[in-house]
Symmetry: C2
Subunit: 133 residues, 2 copies
DNA sequence: TTACATGCAAATGGTTTGCAAACAT
DNA sequence: ATGTTTGCAAACCATTTGCATGTAA
């Protein structure tokens, strides 16, 4: 994992009164290896960390805004909340890809619901990928 | 529930070789009373239908494209897939509201990912509602 | 009379909690 | 010393499955 990410995570943890333990940093390392992983995929990347600790670490990092939890294709998935992006989910093979071109950048919501203060949003697009098309 | 909806549902069920049983129509009736309900809310509106039957009916109606299942504010919610819309979720009080002005109508995806054939999408917006603002 | 549908009880499986030991400050 | 973190085992709880009974074409 990049040193930039490590330092950002350690800083956020310490700043909130938590420790940057080896287990927690292992989970972060696992998350950095790939986007939108399931719990099993994460665990396979840090098998030395106990199941319960993985759950608690994901909760903690989510609270700190470092990790994003989402439900993609019916299963919970997690990823580092670095750059803003959305997901394309292939309904045939399950392949998940990303796109960064966010259609909400233009303030659509503030125009349609001005009384609602938007803090976040998630968008998932379903269909068929190039291979299954 | 409106007769239009009832007939559409009965037609779809029969057309796919299923029966429009009283239990199934009760669940449909419950779904018609309000949008994006949790399982408990649905059950409270048709307590005469067994838990398992409610689950199976929601599955069946989802397969037929009549019901939309989504994860809003961490919990599964269901609604009749009548008109296309998206949800605003208040992170303070949990209030869920809808907006119909879909920012994806303009073919954003086909421009950014032309090799992906889009069949559906879901968008959830999180923030603070007018009362919690 | 045959296939479909229901609903109870039991099984399942992902997630959370209790608690004692290990660790950090 | 004191509070935090870990991880096992057990608890929990939403959802699914097995199966016997009821119902429709």
């Amino acid at each position: 994992m990049g040193d930039v990410v490590r330092e950002r995570v350690e800083g956020k943890l310490r700043g909130a009164g938590h420790q940057a333990t080896p287990q927690r940093m292992s989970v972060v390392g696992a998350l950095c290896e790939e986007q939108h992983q399931s719990l099993d995929e994460i665990r396979a990347r840090c098998p030395e960390v106990g199941l319960v600790t993985v759950y608690r670490t994901l909760d903690l990092l989510s609270e700190l805004g470092l990790v994003r939890r989402m439900e993609l294709g019916g299963r919970p998935r997690y990823e580092m909340a670095e750059r803003h992006h959305h997901h394309l989910v292939c309904e045939s093979c399950g392949l998940i890809s990303e796109f960064e071109d966010c259609p909400l950048d233009q303030g659509v919501i503030s125009r349609t619901s001005p009384e609602f203060r938007v803090t976040a949003h998630s968008l998932e697009v379903y269909g068929k990928c190039a291979d299954c098309g």
